[in-house]
Structure formats: C-alpha cells, structure tokens
Amino acid sequence: MNIQFKKGVLELIVLVSVNKKDMYGYELVMEVSKIVDINEGTIYPILKRLTNEKFFDTYLVESNEGPPRKYYRITSLGREKMKELLDNWKKFSKSVNNFIEGSMKGE
C-alpha cells in the first residue's frame, strides 16, 4: 500500500482508536498495526505529538507485572479534531471514488 496514503491517515486512525478506548503505548501500536501495515516507529511520535497538542490526556495505572503503565485518553479538543479529520476523510475518499468511477465508466 502506498506510503503516502498510510501516513496521511495515521493521525485519524490513532484518534479513532483512543476515542474507542483508553490505551497505553504498546496497545495502541498493536491496534494500529492491525489496520495499517506501517513502520511502528512512526506511531508513537504521532501519539506524542497529539498529546502535546492537548488532544490526549495521560494517566498512570499501577500494574502488578511491572512499572506503572501510561494510558492515553482523548480530550474534548481531541474529539473535535477527530471529527474534523473524519469529515475530511469522508469527503476526500468520496471525491476520489466518484472520480475513479466516472473515469472507469468512460472506458
């Protein structure tokens, strides 16, 4: 799959995943890799960036298997951003699909 597509949509996927359920780093990496086959190294930086921009909150949860885990939770600001990106994605994919269908019909 084209790398450009993947990168563009990664932010959206991260937002939607965390919106579905609070997650910790590893969990998110696994979740996103299921959806898009992408270099995992790029997922955490996006998570970090979205957190810095206040779209996510973090909190620690004690774990008896080791050090406390840092969980990420979406903020209301984050939900707004997610809706914005979803909107863009829908419009974008719709236009592209329409265009392709239109062109294919012509052949």
Binding site: G25, N39, E40, G41, Y44, I46, K48, R49, N52, K70
Partner: protein
C-alpha cells in the same frame, strides 16, 4: 542491537529535549520493547520494528515543533561537537561534585558514622595541601614564561608582543588543565576511600554479626 544500546542511542539523539520529556519518551519505548518481548519477540526484532533510529528521532522531534534538521546539520560541525563535549564534561564534573558532597552530608547525618568528623577534616586538610601544591606548581610555569620573554622579546614590535601573549596563554592553559586533572584525581581518590571505608566497616559489621550468631547458636546447643 539490544534494548540498552537502542535506548541509549535514542537518549543521545534526543539530547535537545528537556530531561523530563526525554525520560518520558525513553520509558515508553522501553515499555513497548519489554511488552513485545513478553509476547514472544526478541529484543532485536522489537527494535527492528521501529525502523531507522535517525528517522525515528526526526519524527519524534516534529512532535515538539523542533526542526529535525537542527541536529543533523549542526552536529556535523566541529564547533557544536566541541560545545556538546564541553557541556557533557561540565555535567560529569558537577555530577561527581554533587555525589561527593552528598556522601559527606549523608555521612554527617548518620550517627553510625561511616564518615566521621575526623575523616571530613582529613579531606579538608588534604584539599588545602592540594591547593598549596598547585600554587607551588605555578613557579615552573613562571620560569617558562620568563624564558619566553627572553626568547621572544626582540624589540617592541607587534610580532613579539603577540608571540609573548600566545606563549602566556599556552602556559596558562596547560597549568589550568593540570590543576583540573589533579583536582579530579583528588576527588576520585577521596570518594573511593570513603566508599572503601564503608565497605570495610560493613564487612567488619558482618563479621561481628556472624560472630554473634555463632555465639547464640552455641548457647542454644548448650541449653539443649
């Protein structure tokens, strides 16, 4: 690459970030690697999943709106490498001094003194002796300087003044380095002797404790 090396590399390259942020990131990657290992991967495999470290660092820095090119271009310049090295050196010295002072303070706090007042004064006196030695050390440098005056002074012209100045600076620089080295060695040895004393005291305490235990056992046997 193993986990330690990878995390160390990451830490170095993220040097520009604030300590708390950097630690935060390192911890997350550490957790992710460990979790992957728990789920069956080897450390190498887990790390390979992240791809190229440099690329990773670029992406991370973007999160802080830091121009990722900053590090690549500038670190190649000699100048910045020098300052980085200097900063690192200063940090180590500060760290060692803090450690040394901590040991002394803790020793004074404890009433079971590993470090007695006696020892503290010992160190202070030794320090003054060191200072005295360093002052004495200046003399040969003065002699060298005067030699330089004789050699370079061929009349009042700018060339000789410059040469003389250069000579003076060189000598000062060498003297300064020697002083730093001696002070560093001094602190190292003092620190070591404090640690050694601790170990010796702990060992002698252990022996005392073991003696006691043996005595108690013997008594128990007698009673039986």
């Amino acid at each position: 690459m193993n986990k330690k090396t990878f995390l160390k590399k990451l830490e170095e390259k993220l040097n520009i970030l604030e300590e708390s942020e950097r630690q935060d990131i390192i911890n997350e990657y550490k957790d992710i690697i460990e979790e992957k290992v728990k789920n069956g991967k080897t450390e190498s495999e887990a790390i390979n999943d992240f791809g190229d470290v440099n690329e990773l660092v670029r992406e991370i820095l973007k999160a802080y709106k830091i121009n990722p090119n900053f590090d690549e271009k500038n670190n190649k310049k000699e100048e910045v490498r020098f300052w980085n090295g200097l900063e690192a050196g200063i940090r180590t010295v500060a760290h060692k001094l803090a450690h040394f002072t901590n040991e002394i303070v803790e020793g004074i706090k404890n009433n079971n003194n590993n470090l007695t007042m006696e020892k503290v004064f010992e160190i202070i006196i030794k320090f003054f002796i060191l200072m005295f030695v360093l002052i004495l050390l200046k003399f040969p440098f003065y002699l060298l300087y005067n030699m330089g005056v004789v050699i370079f002074d061929f009349g009042h012209n700018p060339v000789s003044t410059i040469l003389l100045l250069g000579w003076k600076m060189l000598l000062w620089f060498i003297y300064f380095i020697i002083c730093l080295v001696l002070i560093y060695v001094f602190f190292q040895t003092q620190l070591k002797s404090i640690d050694d004393e601790k170990i010796v005291k702990n060992n002698s305490r252990k022996k005392d404790f073991e003696k006691k235990e043996n005595q108690e056992e013997k008594q128990k046997k007698k009673i039986k």
